[in-house]
Symmetry: C2
Subunit: 184 residues, 2 copies
Amino acid sequence: MKLHSANNYNYKYSNRGMGLEADINASNEYYLNNDKAVIYKKPTPITINKVNYHSRSDALITEAHFNTPSTTDYNGVYKGRYIDFEAKETKNKTSFPLNNIHAHQIEHIRKITKLGGIGFIIVRFTTLDETYYLSSDKLLSFIDNKTRKSIPLDYFREKGHLIKHKLRPLVDYLEYVDKYIKEG
Amino acid sequence: MKLHSANNYNYKYSNRGMGLEADINASNEYYLNNDKAVIYKKPTPITINKVNYHSRSDALITEAHFNTPSTTDYNGVYKGRYIDFEAKETKNKTSFPLNNIHAHQIEHIRKITKLGGIGFIIVRFTTLDETYYLSSDKLLSFIDNKTRKSIPLDYFREKGHLIKHKLRPLVDYLEYVDKYIKEG
C-alpha cells in the first residue's frame, strides 16, 4: 500500500496542481536549506469523525473528511516579513477562472495584506507552460473593480510577472517578492 | 456522533492543552475580528492511507494516522511581521519539561528567528494557573547554554512575561510581542 501525505493527497486525487505544487515544494526546500526563507504548505484541513486510540503513538483515524480551507495553502517568513500565497494550475489558455480560489481565501488574502503581510497568487497555465506571480493588490483590485469571473491571461502579463524557468529553485517567486518590497 | 476538528482532536484525546488552546484560539479570533492580527492554528498533520473517493465533495477518509509536526502549531501576521509560536500546558509546578516540544520544532523556531520572524512559546502551568510568554531568543539561549531537560519556572519569571488575566482577549500575547518589537 502506497502512502500519501495529506499535503499532496487532494491534488493527486483531484488530478490538479501536482506539477506546480511539487515545483513550489522543491523551491521552498531550496529556500529553507539556503537560509533564505521558511515557507511551508499547510496540512490539508480535515474533520476527524472516528479514531481507534490504542496509544499516543498508535492512533488510527478510521473516518474523516476534507474541509474547505479558510486560509491559503502556503505561508511563512522572508526577510522578517509575513509571506502568504495560493498556487493554482489551469488548463485554460486565455484566463484563470476565479472559482479556483474560495471566497474566504480571497478574504484571507485581503486581511493579511491590510495587516502588512505580503500576499500573492502563483498561477500556472499548464497548456502554455507559463507561470505567473500576481500580487494581492493587483488580484484584489481586479476582483473589486470587475464583474468578470475569470482573470484574463493578459491581466497577468500586464500586472503580474512571468516567472522565469530556473533550475534552482524551480519557481523562484521570491525574486518578485523582492521587487514588491523595493517598490513599497 | 459528535465531530471533532483536526485542530482540537489531538488535544482532546491526549487530554492536554485543551484549555490553553481554546483560550488562544478565542484570542486569535478576537485579533482577527478587530483587524489586529491574522494568526491561525495549523491543521494537524496527518498521513492518509485509504480514501473512498466518490466525488470531489464526497471523499471519505477511511484510514489515516497522525504525523509528528515539523513546525510549530501557530503562525500568522502582526504589523507586517511574521509571528510563529507553540503553546503548551504542563501540570508540573516547578519547571517545563522540554520533551513537550519536538527537536525539529525547536529547529524551526531557530530558523524563523534567524530570518527575522518573531518566535516564542506560551507555557501554562495549569496547577499554578500561570501562563508565560517566552521569546525565542530566551528559549534558544536556555537550550544552547544549559544541559537541563526542563526550563525552571524561575527562568520564565526572570526572562519571560507572566501573561495577565484578561477578558478580551483571554491570552493577550501580542502585548508582549509589542514589547519585543520595541526593544528590537
